[in-house]
Symmetry: C2
Subunit: 397 residues, 2 copies
């Protein structure tokens, strides 16, 4: 029999073995009816937790000789606290290098002051700019921004939302992936009452605030400009057919034609996946027509760049032979020659506005009614479309 003393009565004779728990020999004192093991781990005495321990309000409270609640109130200048106490507390806070545990605060208040953002791709300049706008606005109000990219995958998007929504964020700003066509993953989360704001590629089925690009008007402006330059046969490099921006920008295209009393010819519309081969083959097809297109309107700047490079490769002159226009105002459009006519959707402002809508919803609470805001963009005319006035100035930089 081992010489083990009972921690309660101190006796040795009454101790019996009693199996094992978690690999440790267990003992049992007959007299005290008390089970115990010898080695104690002590959760908060050994581990890595120790190092992470910082000054808390309790430390301050002890130092000053008041209660923790007084410290809490003093630090936020609550009226109930005497001016002398406040001073003492604040001084002690500085001396002890007190830093509030924001995690504890958030936990207590059930508010993290974090905005979650899900974008398809951070490296896309448009989204980078939106992100910047969000970050800027959030920061100004003391909010943090957590980002996720879906990589244009519906699955990743759904998984991201699932994780992030579990108490981490106060609101979600989202632009759906190209793949996303069902929105059950979002609707599930909406029950939690966390504000959701859509931007750019929105979801039409949910009662959420939305920030839109003026896709229709913008496209209409571009196409109208091309018409004004004397182009009649205007081809379109569109995206996948189900994609929101494809539908909307095509709508603008059609409107412009209608207003100009030009009949729509479906052969001038090519649905692509924005890849180089798809675009090349679309152009090849058009060039085989007996009458070539006079202009190509590309739904995105990136495809416009690809289009221009291919046309140049084919020794087709821009804009003399074919005008080209894009949509998006990517930086590359100013570099390529001739400079690309495009439409600036003001992505930074899109981000700003989305963040502002979030704040409105937070402040408004139940009184807030969802809004849809369309950001007015800006037609940017550059050489790539200036057929009629070829040779005149490049427009503004």
């Amino acid at each position: 029999m081992p010489r083990v003393k009972c921690p309660k009565c101190g006796k040795v004779e009454t101790i019996l073995k009693s199996g094992f728990v978690r690999g440790l020999q267990r003992y049992y004192c007959k007299e005290c009816i008390y089970h115990f093991t010898l080695i104690k781990k002590g959760r908060y005495r050994n581990s890595a937790f120790d190092k992470k321990r910082q000054t808390t309000i309790i430390d301050i409270a002890k130092a000053v000789g008041v209660s923790a609640s007084t410290v809490s109130r003093a630090l936020k200048d609550h009226e109930d606290i005497g001016i002398r106490t406040k001073a003492l507390v604040k001084q002690a806070a500085v001396e002890l290098d007190y830093q509030p545990n924001l995690l504890a605060q958030s936990f207590n208040r059930r508010e993290t002051h974090v905005i979650g953002v899900v974008v398809p791709d951070i490296e896309n300049p448009f989204f980078a700019s939106v992100l910047s706008g969000i970050q800027h606005t959030a920061s100004a109000s003391g909010y943090k921004v957590m980002i996720y990219q879906s990589n244009e995958s519906h699955k990743t998007e759904a998984a991201n939302i699932q994780t992030i929504m579990n108490n981490w964020i106060d609101g979600l700003l989202i632009c759906h992936s190209k793949e996303t066509q069902t929105f059950e993953h979002l609707k599930l989360q909406m029950k939690k009452g966390i504000p959701i704001i859509h931007f750019d590629r929105i979801c039409e089925e949910t009662k959420t605030s939305k920030v839109l690009l003026d896709n229709v008007i913008g496209s209409e402006k571009i196409v109208t400009h091309l018409l004004n330059e004397g182009c009649r046969r205007i081809a379109v490099i569109a995206g996948p057919q189900h994609l929101y921006i494809t539908r909307k920008r095509l709508e603008g295209y059609k409107q412009a034609l209608k207003k100009a009393n030009i009949e729509l010819d479906e052969k001038w519309i090519s649905y692509t996946d924005f890849t180089k081969p798809a675009i090349h083959s679309a152009i090849d097809n058009w060039l085989m027509e007996k009458t070539r297109p006079e202009a190509i309107f590309c739904i995105s700047d990136n495809s416009a760049i690809l289009t221009m490079m291919y046309l140049k490769h084919l020794n087709i002159k821009i804009p003399e032979d074919i005008c080209v226009a894009g949509f998006g105002n990517d930086y590359t459009g100013t570099i390529i020659e001739p400079a690309l006519t495009t439409y600036n959707p003001r992505p930074f402002k899109v981000g700003e506005t989305a963040a502002k809508l979030f704040f409105e919803q937070v402040i408004g609470g139940d009184n807030f009614h969802i809004k849809t805001i369309t950001i007015e963009g800006e037609l940017i005319i550059r050489s790539s479309s200036l057929k009629r006035s070829y040779g005149r100035s490049d427009g503004k930089e």
Copy 2:
């Protein structure tokens, strides 16, 4: 005297008024020696907290008829829990739509699984790509990413770090702003024991892991390439003199010259702030020399683009008259004509590596020794520098 009953003894006669607290009439029962007010607010009964309440493990515990700790363990398949109980708990969790409160978990564990990232500017493609690499790697390990941009301001950077470090993040990945020249704000935080990883613009004074671009070797490769093309007088558009990348890339420039036995001429080095006017004036000055430079090496792609556009504007042929090379492999370099010779620092990999270093440090704990990893980049030769072999293929796309 008001007809107020004592909540304790129920008597009315013994009640006295006793001033006001928080705007409410206060009463006092002589017999019970008990102060009280009439209206009770009840913190967790009325407010917005209610709506945010979700299913907790306690709810599950009640439903199944076990304790909360059992639920906690069952959900993570702890061996102590019986297989039947586990099944019951998991089933209840699904039925009640239980979502763990990640905030509570983090608070308890003192671990958020969030990586903080501070970059100067999200819209800069280099940083966007780094960010993407970080996000990718973090996501794969179940970590979230919180971003901050300093907007190249030291003050903003310091403020960001201050906020974010208070328990919000498990680690900090940072690229300093151009302005940042003192690092006290960082050193202060290092005491907390949170891993800090530097990338790109590092801090040489701190004992932190770092991820570097191969600035020196990369620049040397570029300049050597220019030398091989027959350029002898190679001018440099540098950045501000104190900037880390300026110093390093200049070092590579000098090394290349030295190896080629060409004497360094300081007049070919121009320190700019990367703005258009500064670059233009640097070029103007060089062109006034009796012997013009044969090549211009720009410390960054963006300044290379500006340089090329200005040279073209001056009707100087690239590369016949002057070769141009950049550093960074921005997308625009593939668009401009002639395409820009540059160096790909592999920003995505930089981000990936920074994140990996963080994980190594977390896993290694005290055993981890800080590392400095240099990411090997890739020389990308395009037309803008192909003087000798002008007219030959464009190199790989």
